[in-house]
Symmetry: C2
Subunit: 183 residues, 2 copies
Amino acid sequence: MALRYAILGLLTKKPSTGYELNQQFKETMIHFWSAHHTQIYRELIKLEEEEWVSSVIYPQEDSPDKKVYSIEDKGREELLKWLLNYKVEPPKLKDQQLLRVSMFHLIDPDDAIRFLEQSKEHHRIGVHHMNVWQQTQYPTDEDKKAALGEYFTSEFGKRYMKSWIDWCDWAIRVLEELKDEGN
Amino acid sequence: MALRYAILGLLTKKPSTGYELNQQFKETMIHFWSAHHTQIYRELIKLEEEEWVSSVIYPQEDSPDKKVYSIEDKGREELLKWLLNYKVEPPKLKDQQLLRVSMFHLIDPDDAIRFLEQSKEHHRIGVHHMNVWQQTQYPTDEDKKAALGEYFTSEFGKRYMKSWIDWCDWAIRVLEELKDEGN
DNA sequence: GGTGTATATGTGTAAAAGCACATATACACC
DNA sequence: GGTGTATATGTGCTTTTACACATATACACC
């Protein structure tokens, strides 16, 4: 039920196609929300039926037609209602990497270390991507107020990935020590 | 499809009832996996049909009968297969708190600050709970190897919550500065 | 005496999410 | 000439997850 609010939130910034919304889910919202593109297209259809958004089709020559969605008054109203009527809810997450970490008692310490090295590398690349993104997309001082959300959540994502890397280093150290004790 | 492996992972530590598994999901796995209790009971039934686990019913006098599940060879085998055949997959998450943060451009800075203060308090309580848990449940040096998973993931959860709190402080500072500039 | 919480296990049904596949064009790379 | 990627929007179907509710006992608190 919250996916619709995620979509509406993006549409308050600028009218977008389903394709563009999906890009933004993958780029800027990756650290707190995931959605499949088919889910986004279907939710947009529902939102239009309920008149929370409207769409205009722009024919294109060298690629398929674009369907650009805009938020309507009803949508803006409902979004604000949802935004201000909150209770602190814990996030719902499924992290296969940490799930595997939780079973490290079943595998060889060397395999565990290899796993953590890969995970660390993955997050190192993530931090790099974030730096690239920030250099091109980061809100400047003038429009910081208009892009506060992106400013805050991208910083969160960066800190999250950095603390992942630190945690990996710590866990690898613990495993190395355990190996030494074993000798 | 991964829920079953989460359940199997817990059952490698000790035979448990669905109720106990649900407790552990809420206590120690909260930082990387969420599951509803009805989902756990249904998955256990499927796992037993496929003979990955088995169950024994213990009648009780002062509360309903217990159904204690144990992992079978087939389950242990499949778990290890899954554990070692991985590709690094990004986590799937739905965090309503960060989703609301991403829409801070729509609300009053004072409302945003209040929101972050509540969120911070929530994570402060989380760190406190973690400290209490660690004092009673934390693996000691002797059985650290047997409880490596809990040792690593609880440390991850603690670091995660602490970095949430730091990030809240940072974001509140940014908002205060923006307010001052507005005057 | 009622309310809330804890123990313990479910069913029925709805909503959310994901997978495989479909269509159509174009540009880059080997 | 084939493969992969990017643009752009979907359908059909399955799996996963969640919600409301059901049952039964006991203990604490007001």
